[in-house]
């Protein structure tokens, strides 16, 4: 019998918070002292965005237990909503404008999540996965054909064709497939850190509450959960929409840390990449997601990997395969279990 002490979950949660805070403090310190390379500095914000994405998808995959292959779609909605909001909002303070844009992005993604979730969550397993993949593709197509501009009369939008006529001083924000260009980079590492912490708090507190238990009960056994009166659709949708909102906020953080974003960025491959973070870090394991997202984002950009030149992506693929094989190897798992969890309770006596 595996015994989970309440305090143990709490310990893990606090260790996770602590680890994130420590990482932030150390990096901020190094950065202040100019001790970080441009490569690392340039990746601080994207890492926070990917960590948030991984946490958000882990809520869907690990806690709710549904496979989503279109999570980048929500990031996309958030990224473009955030970029448009940041360009349009008449707020002069950058941090405030960033915060407002992220909230708008989260809302936009949450609304999309609701629209997607209501029909989709009736499906199960691989069928649900394929439908989320489909939604990811649809969102990409829509953004690629969407034009949004701004002038002194406000926002203008058109679909499929750019029919926007500006008054003087107007400009395009979202230019269809060409995406958003010349974004003012207002995201900061601190903002990313705050977002990651917020997302962690929401996930940990949600999981350890009535709603979280209902969601996990659905994951473990839907029929049994129904039999004790858990409203399935409500809780599935709740988890899905919260997850989408987080992805939206991550999208805005990401977009506002880039000069250019295009719909292509948030395609199937990105959805898969985020799934890789979640699976590698362990389903339902939040600190695992954080580590995996960081590791796999930084890895291909390291000096050593860049030094491999043509073989870089090949080696990346091999590393990915080897890591998966190692983390799933029963012998290695046993080894970790015996080494690091010595005080595990043995099977309880049978009455």
């Amino acid at each position: 019998m595996k015994r989970i002490r309440l305090s143990k979950t709490n310990r893990i949660n606090f260790a996770t918070y602590g680890g994130v805070i420590l990482a932030y403090a150390v990096l901020q310190f190094l950065n202040g002292g100019g001790m970080l390379s441009s490569t690392i500095r340039g990746q601080l914000v994207p890492i926070c965005a990917y960590v948030t994405m991984a946490l958000s998808l882990n809520l869907t995959v690990g806690v709710l237990g549904e496979l989503s292959l279109g999570h980048a779609g929500f990031m996309s909605v958030g990224a473009f909503a955030g970029a448009v909001a940041a360009a349009a909002l008449p707020i002069t303070s950058d941090p405030l404008r960033l915060a407002a844009s992220m909230v708008i992005a989260a809302l936009a993604a949450a609304i999309t999540g609701t629209l997607v979730g209501i029909p989709v969550l009736r499906l199960n397993g691989d069928y649900l996965a394929i439908v989320t993949l489909a939604f990811g593709q649809i969102i990409k197509s829509i953004v690629e054909n969407l034009y949004i501009g701004i002038d002194d009369r406000g926002l203008h939008a058109s679909f499929l064709e750019n029919r926007i006529i500006f008054r003087d001083g107007g400009r395009m924000i979202l230019n269809g497939a060409m995406g958003v260009n010349g974004i003012a980079k207002i995201s900061s590492f601190t903002a990313g850190f705050v977002l990651v912490m917020l997302v962690l708090v929401v996930i940990f507190n949600l999981v350890d509450s009535r709603a979280g238990r209902a969601i996990m009960a659905l994951r473990d056994n839907r029929i049994a959960a129904e039999s004790v009166g858990i409203p399935v659709t409500k809780y599935k949708l709740m988890a899905f929409v919260i997850s989408a909102a987080m992805a939206g906020a991550a999208g805005a953080l990401f977009a506002l840390g880039q000069n250019t974003i295009t719909a292509n960025k948030f395609d199937f491959n990105t959805s898969i990449l985020i799934l890789v973070f979640v699976v590698l870090g362990g389903q339902g394991n939040m600190w695992g997601s954080i580590l995996a997202a960081t590791f796999l984002t930084v890895l291909p950009e390291t000096k050593a990997m860049r030094g491999l030149a043509d073989y870089r992506m090949l080696v990346y693929a091999v590393v990915l395969i080897l890591v998966m094989l190692a983390t799933n190897n029963p012998t290695i798992q046993d080894f970790i279990n015996t080494k690091f969890r010595k005080k595990k309770k043995k099977g309880g006596a049978v009455k």
Binding site: I4, N221, A225, S227, V350
Partner: protein, 286 residues
């Protein structure tokens, strides 16, 4: 089992109410908790249950037995709307359940366990019970995330209530174990506790003693009675262990090929030639 336990209720007398249905005499002046009329379901060409009529008194312990494949589990699935019936009606406490979902039926006071154990295997024992308490520890998801005072208050209540329920089976000590890693018998007991947590007025148990040895079974029998006595609810159980069925059930209903072939007290049933032929066999008495 001891004499005393056996007599905690006077030997039941079954009386017809309403129409052909029979329930214990003490429950007649109250509305039956469950009434099925002409209930039936077909799977493709197969008629799994047909013309099933039954009533259960408010504090009755009823048994549903029959050969394998007779349709017993299917009846439970019909009562809990896992399957929608092809024909007939199910009334819970006088209210029709037509068009209702499993979730709504649960809220109407029906709880069940499953023939193949269905726990929330990755949650702790306590959390399994707390999921059962879902309707009775209400606070919004937002106050959970923000840890508002209502969260702390309700969580404490839920914790206390969960431990109290677990204590029925002496399982408080296991509260923090992962449910999926419990021994088989404990898993079966936990399923019952979880069902009880929904505060049902009718508890359906599908083969609760399966995989238990005789002493565990004997203890289970006591507990079934204890549950009925403390919560004053009706219990309907499916079981192949005749010691248990004949020991705790007041009214027994025998299914064969989806149809009722006999109803009555344990004594009636044990003496019924059709039941012996179809189900009990010419065995040494149970």
């Amino acid at each position: 089992m001891s004499e005393q336990q056996k007599n905690s209720y006077p030997k039941p007398k079954l009386v017809p109410v309403p129409s052909t249905n029979i329930i214990p005499e003490r429950d007649v002046d109250k509305r039956p908790i469950l009434e099925c009329r002409h209930l039936g379901i077909d799977f493709g060409g197969l008629t799994a249950v047909d013309d099933f009529n039954m009533a259960i008194g408010r504090t009755e312990i009823a048994g549903l037995i029959g050969p394998n494949g007779a349709g017993k589990t299917t009846v439970f699935n019909l009562l809990t709307k896992v399957y929608q019936p092809t024909r007939g009606t199910v009334m819970i406490d006088g209210r029709d359940t037509a068009g209702k979902t499993t979730i709504q039926v649960s809220h109407m006071g029906v709880a069940r366990t499953f023939q193949n154990i269905r726990l929330f295997g990755n949650l702790t024992v306590e959390d399994n019970v707390k999921v059962g308490l879902h309707e009775y520890t209400k606070y919004s998801a937002l106050s959970g995330i923000l840890r508002l005072p209502s969260y702390w208050k309700k969580e404490r209540e839920a914790h206390e209530k969960a431990l109290e329920l677990l204590s029925i089976f002496d399982m408080q000590d296991m509260a923090n174990y992962q449910a999926g890693s419990l021994p088989y018998g404990a898993q079966r007991r936990l399923e019952i506790v979880r069902a009880l947590a929904t505060q049902p007025s009718l508890l359906l148990l599908d083969e609760p003693a399966a995989g238990m040895n005789p002493s565990e079974t004997a203890e289970l029998m006591n507990n079934i009675r204890k549950i009925r006595d403390t919560f004053q609810i009706a219990i309907m159980l499916i079981e192949h262990d005749m010691n248990l069925v004949m020991g705790v059930c007041e009214g027994i209903c025998v299914l064969n090929f989806g149809r009722i072939i006999a109803k009555g007290t344990p004594d009636d049933i044990q003496a019924n030639p059709a039941v012996i032929e179809a189900y009990l066999g010419k065995q040494k008495e149970a």
